[in-house]
Subunit: 345 residues, 2 copies
DNA sequence: CCGCATGGTTACAACGTTGTACAGTGTGAG
DNA sequence: CTCACACTGTACAACGTTGTAACCATGCGG
């Protein structure tokens, strides 16, 4: 596997620079020379050493993607989309998991492990406005999906507030009045939990419904398990509700499970809507109504934005914030009002 | 960001090699010198250029992981485990998706994109025994999970045959006699579909049950959708069965969905068991009985095996095949025989 | 027939790091 | 007092690639 330009050059009887020129489609090469070199390349099975090329050029053709955990369906699907988009741009993706731990997230930003890559797509969960300086890293960085900072960085995000409001309004439009919410992070303002809660409250307010602490189920983790637990707690303390807005789909699935165990029918007794539109949502029983936050678009746009940053190197330009369109996906767990099924919202 | 050894050396008033020595814990350095250098490093915020180091040393500290699609829960969870295991070994993971396309899988093995990595963890779906030469690549390679070749390569795999047999026997032990199977790849012998079908047939045979073509649901894809479709087809052609062995969990979930739509109760009318033990399986309604194929162990072992191969370079040693322990996970969709819940099989 | 542009190729340096060889400076033993 | 040797540090080359500058033909206009 140690075939280098030298070997090819020796076999073809030219200098190594000429071989390099052939490989890089340098125009002024005599056809005969080109053929000789190409034959030598084929014969030896030469492939360029990307590490060396990368050292020389300062570009590796790799980007890093940092997500909390690939075990979470949303991030797995996001990663799948990012990798596909990156491949289409000739980039390769190095995946890191932060476990949503703020300390690890901060550490990651400074980690030399990234030095092999040209830039970072970062989906932070734990960082706060306080960490904004930590984002002033010396390499191209694009923040993904969940959180809005005033930092000096590009963002490609979903419309958390508006989408959460639309989800809640969908429940209201179908006649529900006592709408519980689960997955709340108490005191948080800036993260997706805070933003989605704001959307929820805006919807209530716009329709003259009171915000009732009794209907709020806090939960830091957004797993099925925590969704089930949160729902059981609400039920146990005798909260009365006819709908649930879950801050993501896995919470919603856990909640549905708990509701079923408690003998509540979905959607007859309690309508449930989630957020994320993970693949699974369309196959559960009942299928899950949810928000499609535009994952594909986010992935493509984020890769493109990062690629552009990499392209024009340090040469700044204002940081941009790009917002994905969202969509209310109506399924069985929270059907439309008069039994009518809506497609888009 | 262009802080190099030179800059540090200049500031500290030593040669760049001395700085390098400090960084690499070379023993013979005067404490005073070490302090000077460390201060300079801190002051400039120097971090080593991994690309250069990698070129010099021939090691990048990165491995590649190739899976069909991160959108598939099993592979997402596998990737999560692999990345975690790799991190524990100080390795970073580059993730590729092959889409289970044989041509892309072959191409990937030769791709120079991997040249940046020290080795490859490969979970092939499409390759066959014919492609065995393609596996004689010039770099460390470990095959993952699904398939058994006689190739010159390390394998870390699950016990497809034995586990599928155990799954089927679990259904038989609970009194089922007409057991359908879905996800079959007709004519396949060597892939996981072929192996799991073999386990299924062995179980039937061992208990004097006939193999009935009418109970076999072929399906190339192993998605929820294909599971649902497969099940609907079986129902449509009037097949009679009291249990289903689905070749993976997502197929099983799709099948459960189709059964429910058709008014069959799970597990009362039809017991369902899957394969993979994806996280989701424990939260569905009803929760899904399945095979836990030892994903965590596979990930850890595969990373360790690859790391070892990388460690001792070309210095071969026999290719090894490592088999993970499996476990029958009994849940609601296929409870144990007399209403008794078993824990381990 | 000279000078000059242009095509085709080459030598050299450089990207940032580390291994090898070596050069000082002490220190302790003979 | 000298020699061996360990300690501390340096210069240089090398990993494989590509940019820069320069070289040697050739051909053409003057």
């Amino acid at each position: 596997m140690a075939v280098t330009l030298h070997d090819v050059a020796a076999l073809a009887g030219v200098s190594i620079k000429t071989v390099s020129n052939v490989i890089n489609d340098y125009p002024h090469i005599r056809p005969a020379t080109r053929v000789k070199v190409e034959q030598a390349i084929a014969e030896l099975g030469y492939t360029p050493n990307l590490t060396a090329r990368s050292l020389r050029s300062g570009r590796s053709g790799a980007i890093a993607l940092a997500v909390p955990d690939l075990g979470l369906a949303y991030f797995a699907e996001l990663a799948a989309s990012v990798i596909a988009a990156a491949e289409a741009s000739g980039l390769v993706v190095l995946v890191e998991q932060t476990g949503a731990d703020p300390a690890r997230e901060r550490e990651l930003l400074r980690s030399p492990r990234l030095k092999m890559t040209d830039g970072l797509l970062f989906s932070p969960l734990g960082l706060g406005q306080d960490d904004v300086d930590a984002l002033d890293v010396g390499y191209p960085l694009v923040l993904l999906g969940e959180r809005i900072f005033d930092g000096p960085v590009d963002h490609v995000t979903m419309q958390n507030v508006a989408a959460a409001r639309a989800a809640t309004e969908h429940l209201i439009a179908s006649g529900r009045r006592r709408i519980a919410v689960i997955g709340v992070h108490e005191g948080e303002v800036i993260g997706s939990a805070g933003l989605r809660l704001r959307g929820y409250r805006e919807a209530l307010e716009a329709h003259g419904l009171a915000y009732d602490e009794a209907l709020v189920g806090p939960s830091i983790a957004w797993h099925r398990e925590s969704g089930a637990r949160s729902m059981r707690e609400l039920l146990a303390r005798g909260a009365e509700f006819d709908a649930v807005f879950a801050m993501n789909d896995t919470l919603a699935l856990g909640a549905m499970r708990a509701l079923l165990e408690a003998g509540r029918r979905v959607p007859d007794d309690v309508a449930v809507i989630g957020f994320d539109n993970i693949d699974e949502a369309q196959y559960t029983v009942p299928s899950l109504s949810t928000i499609d936050p535009g994952r594909e678009w986010i992935a493509r746009t984020a890769v493109a934005t990062l690629a552009e940053r990499i392209e024009r190197d340090g040469d700044a330009g204002q940081p941009r914030t790009l917002l994905a369109d969202f969509e209310v996906v109506v399924r069985e767990s929270a059907p439309a009002g008069g039994g009518v099924r809506a497609g888009r919202a």
